[in-house]
Symmetry: C2
Subunit: 344 residues, 2 copies
């Protein structure tokens, strides 16, 4: 069996040169003087033997791993509805491919010790990582930042010296609610996501909601604010409870996440209320399916693919240039008006 890894020694032997020469040739080392003749001999030998350098050996000899990691906060259970991840992957995989890297994915989970994604860096398994929706109380993140590891956030972590790519969630949410105000709505409910205190994203969107109301001099009514949990099911149930309990009913709802909005719309329609006629709905994310819903969903477009791409490129620059300074990039959002929202 050819179960034996062919090593650079095999190539050297076949080409009748030393292992060093093989290394020089295959890595196109600048200062090395290799005659064109032997160069070709080495290349031919490597080709014939199907030589592929042993990754671990290269790493150990001081090279980079050529692997970066993407860490996302969603547990496996919640994953299937997080289309956002796919969009980020689209952008990120493009960069990864361009740069000849590989991508490892993981979620922090409860992963203490060995399982922690912090160990990915400590064990030098990866060159750097991207963390989506970082939690401010994550100790692993602190260690990474303190350790000076190449790290890019998708989201933000106020006050920490770390590179990030993000959107202005607060302003975007405010614009979405403003859109409803412009339509004449004054009784506007809000379904945001789980109140994990350290997830800044949902909090910011809630703040944007309050900003808009405040600017319109509409008092904040906590009975109109509910917490979903990233899933359409949670949208369905929280909207249902809202319809049960709110009196009078809201005439519009701002839902801080499209997939949750899908569930909310289903709940509204199940009661034979019509969207947007009886209740207008605005979502957040502009998931690919949003425009194919019935009715097509008015929502805030987040350039998720570009977030992924920019994060990848930023991380790459950090990996290549260790002295690179931290950078914070803010991408634009855009309100996409479709048919789920309308005049009061």
């Amino acid at each position: 069996m050819a179960r034996q890894h062919t090593t650079s020694r095999d190539v050297a032997q076949r080409a009748g040169v030393s292992r060093t020469t093989v290394s020089f040739v295959l890595n196109n080392v600048e200062g090395a003087n290799i005659s064109e003749d032997t160069r070709q001999r080495v290349l031919a030998a490597a080709e014939e033997l199907g030589y592929v350098p042993h990754a671990a050996a290269q790493v150990l000899a001081g090279q980079r791993t050529q692997i970066i990691a993407l860490i996302f906060p969603w547990t496996p259970h919640h994953l299937p509805t997080h289309v956002f991840l796919l969009q980020v992957l689209e952008g990120l995989l493009r960069v990864v491919r361009e740069k000849g890297l590989r991508l490892l994915i993981d979620s922090p989970g409860d992963g203490r010790g060995h399982r922690s994604y912090l160990n990915l860096m400590r064990a030098k398994r990866i060159d750097g990582l991207i963390v989506i929706d970082p939690r401010s109380d994550d100790p692993a993140l602190r260690s990474l930042i303190d350790g000076g590891f190449p790290l890019v956030l998708i989201g933000n972590l106020p006050g920490m010296p770390v590179s990030s790519v993000d959107v202005d969630n607060r302003a975007a949410a405010r614009a979405a609610v403003q859109h409803l105000l412009d339509y004449g709505h004054t009784r506007i409910a809000c379904i945001t996501n789980a109140p994990l205190p350290s997830f800044t994203v949902t909090e910011e969107r809630l703040l944007g909601y309050r900003d808009a109301l405040e600017a319109a001099a509409i008092p904040y009514d906590e009975h109109l604010v509910r917490m979903g949990a990233y899933t359409p099911e949670s949208g369905f149930s929280t909207m249902s409870s809202l319809l049960d309990e709110a009196d009078p009913l809201p005439t519009a709802v701002f839902v801080a996440s499209d997939v949750v909005a899908f569930g909310a719309i289903a709940a509204i329609q199940q009661r034979n209320l019509r969207v947007p006629h009886d209740i207008a709905v605005v979502g957040f994310d502009d998931v690919p399916l949003a425009r194919f819903m019935n009715p097509p969903l008015t929502t805030v477009h987040i350039p998720a693919t570009r977030l992924g791409r920019q994060a990848g490129e930023l991380l790459y620059s950090l990996v290549i240039d260790e002295a690179a300074a931290e950078r914070r990039i803010l991408l634009d959002t855009q309100l996409v008006v479709r048919s789920s929202s309308g005049p009061h």
Copy 2:
């Protein structure tokens, strides 16, 4: 700066023992006789120094990489609508976590040479891999199989000696169409996915469609069969063309993929036709959002999460036990009847 990796030598020095002893202690080597006293000293030293073994060095010394890869055939561009991937990830990440592995993801793309996922194995970067929707004309797959690398398919590759986890797409599609026949429909259109000849999945679903028609003695009408492309957009446009050209209109459509069905439904509704009243729709996949559509989508449930889990466990057994025989696992599907289908 503590930019220096702490090695097992450091631990040895601090505990006042040899590096070998450190290795014995930390790996709980069976035959080694280590006194409880020094054992504790070593453990303490490792803890104090925050020692984490260098992954590459471990691999080079003959250990496994503890990394497996998931290869999926969708280009970045098509990724965002492939919720199926997220579902598979849900199951797979669970296994990966249980076994203490890491997961690397990639798509074959056009990746020749260095970029090919084949090189992941050749460079010994991973211990094994899972390939979704394998193409029979993929040369990398052949090499992997011939090379005896640990490999599990999600999907199938008839006639190849390789482990796989799959569902019976043909039977499931047949059941879905039979459901429409039972409702009294006789003019049933079909929207399946791109006719890449080597993707067996879509072909099988089309065959199931034909099986059902044939059993009901309904002639196959190629004008009622269209090719989508995995996206809601493609569902929208193919359905639109079907509505333009088919005469008389079909009273039901079998769409071989939920996300495409969403687009198709949008196209139907845009013409002020009603689902299921004017045209009944049955999808395939039972994506998490299917039951929250308007109307809720009748579809074939695929246990995608379990596909991921089983594939992971199967792969793990192949990695651990090199002599393990190939296995083919077939999971059950189930028709989920909701409101997008109804009587003629």
